[in-house]
């Protein structure tokens, strides 16, 4: 998606430790119109697949997931990272290790919002080590639902997440796939931009 890639090239900051800082439009401040285009792009790619529910993880997965839900006219469910006081007692849970925070946390989805036979599209902002995506795959499997595919805004192809997910048969579609950032600049996997 060219508008996204251009924004990453123009405004993304590469920090030590292979960190790509895009918090001015993706995960702290959000550009709603770019996010709307991102939702349209995912809706176009995953059209005609009988998807009936979109799943993401709070918090920064919510904007692209919500816009995809708007474009596809589908409900969006977000997995919770903290034990919500009002969450149903009947929930699905998976353990996720965060490399960024170096700790394990639990993600939870109420069983009401992920039913057997559901055809689920996962949307997330980043795919790096893939732990969150595999945690969601675990929850979808526990629910007896079908994991149709994953739409990722930015994939760091030099980290293991994409490979891990594809090895498990998950169809991953990334709008911006980064090959490397070794010289402090972002290089995408496809040539253009």
């Amino acid at each position: 998606m060219d508008a996204l890639k251009q924004k990453i090239l123009n405004e993304g900051q590469v920090l030590p430790g292979n960190v790509l800082k895009v918090d001015h439009f993706l995960n702290h401040q959000i550009d709603p119109e770019l996010m709307y285009q991102i939702g349209q792009a995912f809706a176009g790619f995953f059209a005609g697949r009988n998807i009936n529910r979109i799943l993401t993880i709070e918090a920064s997965g919510i904007p692209p997931a919500l816009m995809t839900g708007l474009a596809m006219k589908l409900p969006v469910v977000f997995a919770k990272k903290t034990e919500a006081a009002n969450l149903d007692t009947d929930f699905l849970a998976a353990s996720v290790y965060s490399f960024t925070r170096q700790r394990e946390y639990t993600i939870r989805v109420s069983r009401k919002y992920l039913q057997p036979g559901d055809r689920v599209l996962v949307i997330d902002d980043f795919l790096a080590n893939g732990q969150a995506l595999l945690g969601l795959a675990d929850i979808i499997s526990q629910a007896g639902a079908d994991f149709v595919g994953a739409g990722i805004v930015i994939e760091k192809a030099f980290q293991q997440g994409g490979e891990l997910a594809r090895e498990r048969g998950i169809e991953v579609h990334s709008l911006a796939k980064i090959q490397d950032m070794t010289d402090g600049k972002v290089h995408f996997c496809d040539d253009h931009l």
Copy 2:
């Protein structure tokens, strides 16, 4: 907003302890089209006020804030509840007491995304005890920005938040204002519905 009130009446669940469970369209599963209408409603109400930034708190404030941002063509900033590894060191912070969780937590906004002179619209899903809203007011004040108003999806008018905020001069506009839920049913402050 009638579509919202009707949805609360039809599908909201009143639980013991004055809890209104609306997690099937507002804060766990989200109805993107209703959320889009909510964004339009806030944009209409706060039009012509020279607002240049929208502020909310993760996670369930994000959907209505994002849709308001889309309608108003403005950037949306969400305050973080956890210490993000990649957050700038130069951030604004406020302490917020959660009655639901019975603990204090810190909300943070990078100083980059809230500038002196900014005219800020706060959007949030719920207004009950008002602690989150006052925390955001504190952050806006620290930034030297102007707090133009607050758009709330559901206000529990029988709790103190609305009064506390209005006493401090904050203009609060709530799309659904609940007078009481004493008999297990939702009664709105205005007569219709």
